[in-house]
């Protein structure tokens, strides 16, 4: 509230505003500080103490500050992993649709129509999910205020905006067989396919360029994993649609390749993240570990069913649902793993020190071999008081 509004409200004899935790007497002070605009609705709940890391034993660990997290947990709710799934689905559908459009085969016309509908509805749902998750949804348009190449979220916003426009154009003219509108629709479909490919994977780049150890640790293999999972998602949703034999064959090939790649890249992510071993803990234990393992199992089951030589419609549907669940579980598992990883300060320390961390019964320890010359000097007292803590490599 500005100076004038405050004074006017006092002159009108209005009651002072409810307690906002600032203890500023409105007769004596005006709210004009740098943090004065910060809105307060729930005072007590707002500053909870962060939960200590789940693996932490505060009585024995000298390396951390009372086991408190070093990093902030991500603030995203379920809408974000849901968007990761939907955006991937839309992007991969558009890519397959663009290929089908480009082939110009009359037998694939049904597939073209369906992929365009999936792409445009996916783009719309994606936008809604992303806006819903913003702290200030009314300011969603600020996402297109600048273009910032260092921010994958900025690049992704522009990608999604372009993809939405192109996929909607393609969907609008999906029924045309000839003429300028059909050409516009086909051109837009190919454009949407070109944008859809990075749209399916940029979310992994977004995650891996954060400070969260497990996401950062997966920076090479997470993008391919997300893109393979997007192919799985699209193939599974198309498998639930009514397709002719040729279309079914194309979708089956697309799906089998996507699922196989997803399983391979999951393994690659596990290997990449496991250096040092403590980073991979969220993918092994707890709810995030269950989601991650569950995703792999579901996709493997879906792959096994779709490899069956003459699949009945019922088997096809079962395979599609398993694959869909697997893709969704993967995104939720990765987000959850990031939350757990941010809570554990030792994951950050181990990653940055580059030192190996012994993965012993949930009590990994730092080996401070990378400490600089100044740091190593005062390690001696630490090792003297706790001989078991410091180990030579």
């Amino acid at each position: 509230m500005g100076r004038r509004e405050t004074l006017m409200s006092q002159l009108r004899g209005e009651p002072p505003p409810a307690d906002d935790g600032r203890n500023v007497d409105s007769l004596l002070g005006l709210l004009e500080g740098e943090g004065a605009a910060q809105q307060v609705e729930r005072l007590a709940e707002e500053h909870p103490h962060p939960p200590p890391s789940e693996l932490h034993d505060s009585t024995s660990d000298l390396e951390t500050y009372y086991g408190l997290p070093l990093l902030k947990e991500h603030v995203w709710k379920a809408a974000i992993p849901a968007y990761f799934y939907v955006g991937g689905l839309a992007g991969a559908s558009a890519a397959l649709g663009a290929a089908a459009t480009w082939s110009a085969s009359p037998l694939l016309r049904g597939l073209v129509r369906k992929t365009r509908l999936i792409a445009t509805s996916g783009a719309m749902v994606s936008g809604a999910l992303l806006i819903e998750d913003l702290g200030r949804p009314s300011r969603f348009f600020n996402m297109l205020r600048v273009f910032r190449p260092t921010s994958p979220m900025s690049i992704g916003s522009w990608l999604l905006a372009g993809f939405g426009a192109l996929s909607t154009t393609a969907a609008l003219f999906r029924g045309r067989r000839a003429g300028p509108l059909a050409a516009i629709g086909d051109g837009a479909a190919v454009g949407a396919g070109v944008l859809g490919v990075p749209l399916a994977g940029y979310t992994a780049v977004l995650l891996s360029s954060t400070a969260v150890p497990v996401w950062q640790g997966a920076r090479t293999w997470l993008p391919p994993l997300f893109m393979a999972s997007a192919v799985t998602s699209a193939a599974c949703v198309l498998d639930l649609c009514d397709l002719n034999a040729l279309e079914r064959r194309a979708v089956r090939r697309f799906g089998i390749a996507g699922k196989a790649a997803e399983l391979v890249f999951s393994k690659a992510v596990e290997r990449e993240v496991a250096r040092p071993a403590i980073l991979a803990a969220p993918l092994r234990h707890g709810m995030s570990g269950a989601l991650w393992k569950g995703a792999k199992l579901l996709v493997a089951a879906s792959l096994a069913l779709s490899l069956a030589p003459r699949a009945s419609p019922r088997l096809r549907r079962a395979s599609a649902w398993l694959g869909t669940l697997g893709s969704v579980a993967l995104r939720f598992g990765i987000l959850r793993a990031g939350r757990i990883s941010a809570r554990d300060p030792r994951a950050t320390f181990a990653q940055q020190r580059g030192g190996p961390v012994t993965a012993q019964a949930g009590a990994p320890e730092l080996v401070p071999d990378h400490a600089g010359p100044a740091a190593s000097r005062d390690l001696a007292p630490a090792s003297a008081s706790e001989p078991s803590k410091v180990r030579a490599r």
Binding site: L70, L134, S151, V205, S385
Partner: protein
């Protein structure tokens, strides 16, 4: 103008928390709910959207120079933590709206009228400083008292620090002063004294901190990352991986449709 910053000398900190109070008062930030941690004198426990200075109380069962207490081989380390205003800031590089800017004082500033609360900076900060206030919906952090700097005043925390543990000034001068202080401490029998993030060479991941520290132990015990890196440094690797996968995905789509 020129680059301004903080030099926080933890050997001088007495843990009075005047900086926390001064910051809250000047910036008119809401309180934290007056919670009790029960683990130490630290009841603030972390920096956050409405806490822009935080005094940590580290209890170390080792003798560290002048920090030894009467209780034998036990050292008590206190440190006033703050946003580091990194020369290469993860929050600024990740912000998709341009809400986070670098000011004429080389500090990193969040414009509350632009921020739309996407939350990406929260995960991008390698120090866990910036946070989104859920009932406000936007991200907040230390502004280096931008309003005071514009009036040629010292930031509230540095102004109120009774022991000059928090020193504000021109970065060039602060760095020289900090190096002299380390040499002096080494002479006076505190070999553990070392600077944290005082230059791009000392901390290449962030290209140096505009709010840097003098510590007497490894950064980990103060809840500081040992080798922080602005996350955008991983981008080249991730985008290359994406590009390779994109070729694969395009081939898959074409192969599925075109092959006989």
């Amino acid at each position: 103008m020129g680059a301004k910053g903080f030099f926080t000398d933890t050997t001088l900190c007495i843990g009075c928390k005047a900086c926390e109070v001064a910051c809250k008062q000047w910036n008119q930030l809401p309180d934290d709910g007056f919670q009790f941690t029960g683990m130490s004198y630290d009841n603030t426990s972390h920096l956050g959207s409405s806490t822009w200075r935080h005094v940590g109380f580290v209890e170390r069962p080792v003798p560290l120079g002048a920090q030894i207490t009467g209780a034998g081989s036990f050292s008590w380390l206190m440190m006033s933590d703050v946003c580091k205003h990194c020369a290469r800031a993860g929050c600024l590089e990740s912000c998709p709206t341009g809400a986070i800017v670098r000011t004429e004082f080389d500090s990193v500033y969040v414009q509350p009228d632009v921020c739309n609360g996407c939350g990406y900076c929260v995960s991008a900060c390698p120090f866990g400083v910036i946070d989104r206030r859920e009932d406000d919906g936007r991200a907040w952090k230390c502004t280096l008292c931008y309003d005071r700097l514009r009036e040629d005043m010292v930031p509230a925390c540095a102004k109120h620090c009774p022991t000059a543990s928090i020193q504000y000034g021109d970065l060039v001068q602060l760095r020289a002063r900090a190096e002299r202080r380390v040499e002096e401490l080494h002479r006076r029998g505190v070999p553990e004294a070392r600077l944290y993030g005082h230059s791009a060479a000392a901390q290449p991941g962030t290209e140096g901190l505009n709010a840097f520290f003098l510590l007497v132990d490894r950064p980990e015990v103060y809840k500081l990352p040992p080798e922080p890196v602005a996350p955008a440094r991983n981008l080249r690797r991730s985008w290359s991986a994406l590009a390779a996968a994109a070729v694969g995905m395009a081939a898959l789509a074409l192969g599925a449709v075109l092959s006989p």
